[in-house]
């Protein structure tokens, strides 16, 4: 077991900083890559939490119902500043998109006519997917080095991604097995990085 870093209570993140960071994240999130960007801002750039804390929330946000990025924002906000933090992160993340989507609806018929508009949005989305893939590498690298863990990862990917099976029964079937396999028992030694 890697010891978690000593819980030296970092000075509380100001609520306004939290709102501002998620406001920008919300506004710049295209094509589903925003979780990767949250990781960059919250872990890599600002050091507000560790990789391990982020990954633990990421799995929860994916599994629980709702929009993954909104769940992740609530998790991160809760972790950093409790209820007010969760509210600040969620409203911050939604303020920009809420405004832009309504403006876009008003201007829609003019926008589609712009040459290159569709290509530009496809390009932005492709880059966002690349960022997501990069986060995937980090997550896969951090997966405990056990056969069961890799099997769970692969089975989830194949069932949901390739076969398009509904997520709820897939997770309901795989999660208990995966958790049981990770249950602490005989001293098998430190098996994860």
């Amino acid at each position: 077991m890697t010891a978690p870093p000593p819980a030296a209570p970092v000075p509380a993140v100001p609520l306004f900083s939290l709102y501002r960071v998620f406001f920008v994240l919300g506004l710049l999130s295209f094509g589903g890559g925003v979780s990767a960007w949250m990781h960059r801002e919250v872990v890599q750039v600002r050091g507000w939490m560790t990789d391990a804390e982020f990954i633990s929330g990421f799995a929860l946000a994916q599994i629980l119902p709702g929009v993954n990025s909104a769940n992740l924002a609530v998790y991160l906000g809760q972790h950093l500043r409790g209820p007010a933090g969760a509210a600040a992160a969620l409203t911050g993340m939604l303020t920009g998109p809420f405004t832009v989507v309504i403006l876009a609806a008003i201007a829609y018929h003019r926008l589609v006519g712009l040459p290159g508009f569709a290509a530009a949005t496809a390009g932005v989305a492709a880059v966002a997917v690349g960022m997501l893939l990069r986060l995937g590498f980090t997550l896969a690298w951090r997966v405990p080095r056990r056969v069961a863990a890799y099997a769970a990862m692969l089975a989830t990917f194949v069932a949901v991604g390739v076969l398009n099976w509904p997520l709820v029964p897939v997770v309901a079937a795989i999660a208990p097995l995966s958790i049981i396999a990770a249950w602490p028992r005989s001293p098998q030694g430190p098996t994860h990085a």
Binding site: N68, P97, V101, L111
Partner: protein, 179 residues
Amino acid sequence: MRDSELLALIAILAPLSIASIGGAASVYAPLQHQTVDVQHWLTGQEFIDLFAIARVTPGPGTMLATLIGWKVAGLAGALVATAALFLPATVLCYAVARVWNRYRGKPWHAAFEQGLAPIGAGLLFAGVLAILRIGAGGPLSWLTAAGVAGLLVWWPKLHPFALLIGGAVVFVALQWVTG
């Protein structure tokens, strides 16, 4: 009349919030059925247009619900629809996150964490595949995504905004060249 439309928005969207496991993709079908076939708030074409707007603007694809609210009852409709779609699921997530963080360090917590982490990773890769499949860019999107991922491994500090702008420029330029 307006109040009844706001209530109808809540009645349709709040259950979808809790049922939407895996994000936006799972709510599109029921949302279309309810707003077009049942309530007749929108025509099929209007629904497709709103869907496209939600796809090309920042934010989750479920901002589609905001647009439907806007269309049905103006600003009040947009606010109510957004809250109805986001609040139930995020309140649940908040409750779970609290419990989750309180028991950090317990052995069973570690088992849950280690057991769920590979599932989170698997779902992420599944999401990447799903987005690439419905993406409009074809093989170029796949290549770009792989290239960006590789570039970020090699150069982690590269700012995402530069990449996003670069992606848009490259796609527009290629469209110009290939006609």
